[in-house]
């Protein structure tokens, strides 16, 4: 049994990503959408926190939201996978439930 967690706010603005990562287990996945995509690239000050998470959890980022913020050509953090909306839908179906951290 595993959960897909959705994060939509920048971790520089809100603590939702911290709060999510402090509670989920290694079977769970996280997808960064909307403003949360700003930590998907390597080189940010959030880098090491996210690397710790990718060590044992699956992290995804939504490509259209990366593109909208001019970040599509940056190199993603190791262990992060970019998906489009259809990939997002597939993730929803592959996990047992979806938890949006608002």
């Amino acid at each position: 049994m595993s959960t897909l967690n959705i994060i939509n706010k920048s971790p520089f603005e809100k603590r939702t990503l911290d709060q999510c990562l402090s509670r989920i287990s290694k079977d769970d996945a996280v997808i960064l959408i909307e403003d949360a995509v700003v930590v998907a690239m390597s080189g940010t000050s959030y880098d090491s926190q996210l690397k710790t998470a990718t060590a044992d959890k699956k992290l995804y980022v939504l490509t259209p939201d990366l593109e909208a913020r001019g970040l599509a050509d940056r190199s993603l953090l190791d262990g992060l996978t970019a998906v489009d909306y259809k990939g997002f839908v597939a993730l929803v179906t592959e996990h047992d439930r979806v938890h949006s951290w608002l």
């Binding site: 959960t3 509670r23 989920i24 287990s25 439930r97 938890h99 949006s100 951290w101 608002l102």
Partner: protein
């Protein structure tokens, strides 16, 4: 509406409450959803983590800001057979609160157990 489901599917619903009450409407709207949802005879849990623990704080007095004081309604949940209320211990502690500050009896759970609880659910509603 209840009849539609009397012999039907029973699912496990969890309401996850993470916001300070009154600054936004999420607290009251979560409560309204739980009360309406009670008619569907599902398995309902309410979880209070992060700032959501303030929703259960005793002595809320909304007179000066002219808001409805809905906090007493948490005590009525029992009458609707909503009896599984969980509060995360660490969230309370970080905010300088203890179980004595809460206006209803709840089950305290450690942060490590939060995911375990969510892992048993069919539907997650977050407020």
């Amino acid at each position: 509406m209840e009849e539609e489901y009397s012999g039907g599917v029973e699912k496990k619903f969890i309401y996850i409450n993470r916001r300070v009450p009154h600054g936004t409407a999420y607290a009251i709207e979560s409560l309204e959803t739980v009360l309406i949802g009670a008619a569907f005879d599902q398995d309902v849990s309410m979880l209070f983590i992060d700032d959501g623990v303030f929703q259960l704080k005793k002595d809320q007095n909304t007179e000066s800001i002219e808001f409805k004081n809905f906090s007493k309604a948490y005590r009525a949940l029992e009458m609707y057979d909503v009896e599984k209320l969980y509060v995360e211990t660490e969230s309370l502690q970080e905010r300088g609160l203890s179980a004595d500050d809460l206006l209803v009896g709840v089950e305290m759970i450690d942060r490590a157990r939060v995911n375990e609880l969510i892992d048993q659910q069919d539907v997650v509603l977050s407020f």
